[in-house]
Symmetry: C2
Subunit: 364 residues, 2 copies
């Protein structure tokens, strides 16, 4: 099948670019002796997770139990749930998975540790637990080394769970490289304090799990890090362009759309809005716009309704004809892919593979 | 089943409130001799569309062909596709539906009219076409009465389609009632000019389809309007509260979430973020926040990651314990429901019905 035969809107992945991205980060991790555990929330597609394992990943990361179930059903046997699991129902489902899959979970509370221990004991399985440490993003994570040691000790004293290390997420480092450098020092000071305190308490962290796509190629600069969990690196997006950690030629994913109206002067309307792209913003840039029109940067994707994308074409010399198709690099690939049930892998103009987004909408 | 037995995140609909909302608008439309054609993009659930028909709706509205297919498969036989259909594939699918369903389509271009006529002729069916008129939102729609007459004439000269009237969408009227009043005059001037010009051309509009939830209870003030297409009125949301067209007691839909972390001072983290609520903004208010925590308005829903909701609890006297559950009224119900595969209808604390969101993610 040819791309021209696809109806729109449709998510297109350039396989050549994606494979280059997969290889490049795998090579970096191998050269720097870092374990790679990609976050599969980005694609939610088991075949892509398998491709990441073939490129040397030691296992995968997920955010939701439902994502873990989809990935485990495809034979993936080493999964980190990088999310605090606090309800007995979810702990039970993970315990069921742990009968055939290595399951690790990050957490920042005694409550989560106790729920997980109880269910693991009932099911006769074991969980590896990572204490999440807040290194500046201020979302989840214990706030200092004392709290980290206290929680690690609690875990060490519970049955059917073991303390295997720490996890951190540098979510505040979605900024340009020079700004990242300034943020790195306090992150490392926090990591140093935490790792030393754990050592002194006789609870050394075997795993130090960190990283993200914006910081992927400086992962080795994080003190003590043993594994990284980037998600977006295989696709990249407009936010990665804004942070200057990817170039347009590194962007593997775009959304193919059709112009459906040009009746309003200065505007072209495309058949994708917030239900196609998500409303996620251009956080690494000036906050405006919902995607990059690579072939015509004079045109801006300035607003969205649910099913309409509003292009401002007033500064463009191009005339947007009804029925013509364009490709747009979205602000945020993770939320864009989650709006779709299929993703099309293309090489040149040929559609080589159609993937079901098997974990789409897995919220529990 | 009791609400307490549902895992989170989960979309909850209070059936008593929803039924009151359904009855109230149906009564208004009956009293003012307006046809009600609800936009089912809001819920994407055939059982709710049927309930709207039982409350007196004459048919339904959809945005996507895939939504029309889902609704037609459940026996709904009068569907307006309020979206310009310009690709041959989609026109063909609509022609297939038109064999057993009354299909109307709005459009603003000759290209769309020709594609639809061609496919209708091939399939031996007929489409009713509505000319979309831009009355100030500047998204789709012909810009003046001359263009409206030209397009109506084009339609009248094409085979297997007939011109049945005009459509407009007052998307710029998501504002408080006093501001709506100021916007109504230019809208009506535009409607007057368009309807008169069509009359003079011998192409009188049998259908004048307008309206939206923010303007639902002033629908009769739009000149010439014969039918209205509100979507959100059965649920309402934070944007309707901000526009002062609904009260909290009119909000039927909320998202049930669990507190999963309180390790960071001043914050509570819930298990729903942009993949649960969508990132749609508080457009009718100050633009900040992603939902209303009815039981504790001192706490703000200030930020989101994909699976984390960041509550600022620093001004609240309440302590957010890990594992406790709260309900949040989302900014925008249409995009929130589309993130979920199930919606739970509750009466008091009892879950009375579970609906599949059958048209979830139908993008084509």
């Amino acid at each position: 099948m040819d791309i021209d035969e696809l109806d729109t809107p449709a998510v297109i992945v350039d396989l050549d670019v994606m494979e280059k991205n997969l290889t490049r980060l795998a090579t970096y991790c191998r050269e720097h002796n870092l374990n790679l555990r990609p976050h599969t929330k980005t694609h939610k597609i088991p075949a892509l997770a398998c491709m990441q394992l073939e490129h040397g990943a030691i296992g995968i990361t997920v955010a939701k139990v439902g994502e873990a179930e989809v990935m485990a059903a495809c034979g993936i046997n080493d999964i980190l749930v990088a999310y605090p699991i606090v309800t007995p129902e979810k702990a039970l489902r993970l315990a069921a998975l742990a009968e055939r899959t290595q399951i690790s979970i990050s957490l920042d509370s005694t409550e989560a540790a106790e729920v997980l221990s109880k269910r693991a004991r009932e099911q006769g399985v074991n969980f590896s637990l990572l204490v999440e440490v807040d290194i500046g993003f201020h979302r989840c994570g214990v706030s200092d080394e004392k709290a980290a040691v206290t929680l690690a000790k609690t875990i060490a004293n519970l049955k059917n769970v073991h303390f295997s290390g720490i996890m951190f997420y540098p979510g505040h480092m979605l900024v340009k490289p020079e700004s990242q450098s300034a943020l790195l020092r306090p992150v490392n000071e926090s990591l140093d304090r935490t790792l030393s305190a754990l050592d002194r308490a006789g609870l050394s962290a075997r795993v130090v799990s960190g990283g993200s796509t914006p910081t992927a190629y400086r992962s080795r600069e994080f003190h003590g890090v043993t594994e990284v969990r980037p998600g977006m690196y295989l696709f990249n997006d407009r936010n990665m362009l804004g942070a200057e950690v990817a170039r347009v030629s590194d962007c593997a994913l775009s959304v193919l759309v059709t112009v459906v109206s040009n009746a309003v002067s200065g505007r072209a309307i495309i058949d994708g809005g917030s239900k196609t792209f998500s409303s996620d913003r251009f956080l690494s840039g000036d906050g405006t716009g919902f995607g990059l029109i690579e072939e015509d940067p004079q045109t801006t994707f300035e607003a969205m309704s649910e099913e309409h994308g509003h292009l401002n074409v007033s500064r463009s010399e191009r005339r947007y004809r009804i029925g013509e198709r364009i490709r747009i690099i979205p602000n945020h690939v993770c939320t864009t892919v989650n709006m779709h049930h299929q993703v099309y892998g293309v090489r040149g103009n040929r559609v080589e593979v159609v993937w079901e987004v098997a974990a789409q909408g897995k919220l529990q």
